[in-house]
């Protein structure tokens, strides 16, 4: 599934309009040092809205970042994500609810 389809099906908020990548898996983490070991193409679900996370997400070439619980990234984070062509998305409910929805959609 592409990120654009996911946005449509889950009603995700979009913070920028970057690359529409194929989602090859899902990874949930709030630790930068944990993210640097994941494979390319994952949808990264997190609560962390700081720049360090984008630096790590870029290194492992994520499909997109989804901020759960209505978290909103600051402008400088969006600017860095734009430079890295990383799509930033938002979800109003908690991470567990998002995980269940992703699984039900077949995003695994």
């Amino acid at each position: 599934m592409k990120t654009s389809e996911l946005v449509q099906r889950l009603g995700l908020k979009t913070f920028n309009e970057q690359g529409d990548k194929e989602i090859r898996g899902v990874y949930i983490s709030d630790m930068v040092s944990d993210i640097i070991g994941i494979k390319e193409g994952n949808l990264l679900v997190t609560l962390q809205t700081h720049k360090n996370l984008i630096a790590a997400a870029n290194l492992v070439d994520v499909a997109a970042v989804v901020y759960a619980r209505g978290k909103t990234p600051p402008e400088d984070v969006i600017a860095l994500a734009n430079r890295a062509k990383i799509r930033l998305l938002g979800y109003d409910q908690d991470t567990w609810t998002l995980a269940k929805s992703l699984f039900e959609l077949g995003v695994r």
């Binding site: 630790m31 930068v32 040092s33 944990d34 640097i36 070991g37 494979k39 390319e40 193409g41 720049k51 360090n52 630096a55 790590a56 870029n58 290194l59 492992v60 070439d61 890295a84």
Partner: protein, 175 residues
């Protein structure tokens, strides 16, 4: 395929969780880092030869080695303390230049930070480790030139560097 001709397919192995601890010597003003696997990062000051090391800070971090899934070659990354994204703050810096070659395409440069932050001992992350890190992070990319890992010894100044360190600073602090 012989081991020497192997096109390595690296995977992380020997992953350890702990703390990246940074200390400074008020005598020589050098800085060093080390990885601690203790439950609580050590903060005690101590005397070592001419040095008087004091705790400057710590961050939750992970250490790992790389192992080739095809030939089983393993690259220990003992000297690697963390990775840092270059933000192109200094055109005179070797890291900046590493990301601005003749190619038009955008390259994101990540600096492999070693324990000897000030490089007073002359050691850094070995070339073999840097090469394996490049192969690991470039491995599955459509455009391998997008990511480049370089050793921190080519950084011009640790004091003026504005790079983004990939570590979990502040998660265990109390305010």
């Amino acid at each position: 395929m012989s081991k020497t001709n192997c096109h390595h397919k690296w995977a992380m192995t020997n992953i350890r969780d702990g703390y990246l601890v940074t200390e400074g010597c008020f005598h020589c003003l050098n800085r060093v880092s080390f990885f601690s696997e203790e439950p609580v990062p050590p903060i005690d000051a101590y005397h070592e030869g001419d040095h008087f090391w004091s705790y400057l800070g710590s961050a939750q971090a992970s250490k790992f080695d790389l192992r080739c899934g095809k030939c089983s070659k393993q690259i220990p990354l003992n000297e690697l303390m963390a990775l840092m994204l270059c933000v192109n703050c200094d055109p005179e810096c070797g890291v900046f230049r590493a990301g601005h070659g003749e190619q038009d395409q955008k390259t994101w440069v990540y600096v492999a930070l070693c324990a000897d932050t000030s490089h007073a001992s002359g050691t850094c992350v070995p070339d073999e480790g840097v090469r394996a890190l490049n192969e690991y992070y470039q491995g599955d990319l459509e455009n391998p030139q997008r990511i480049k890992v370089v050793p921190c010894r080519i950084r011009r100044s640790v004091d003026s560097c504005q790079g983004i360190v990939l570590a979990d600073v502040g998660l265990t602090e109390l305010y």
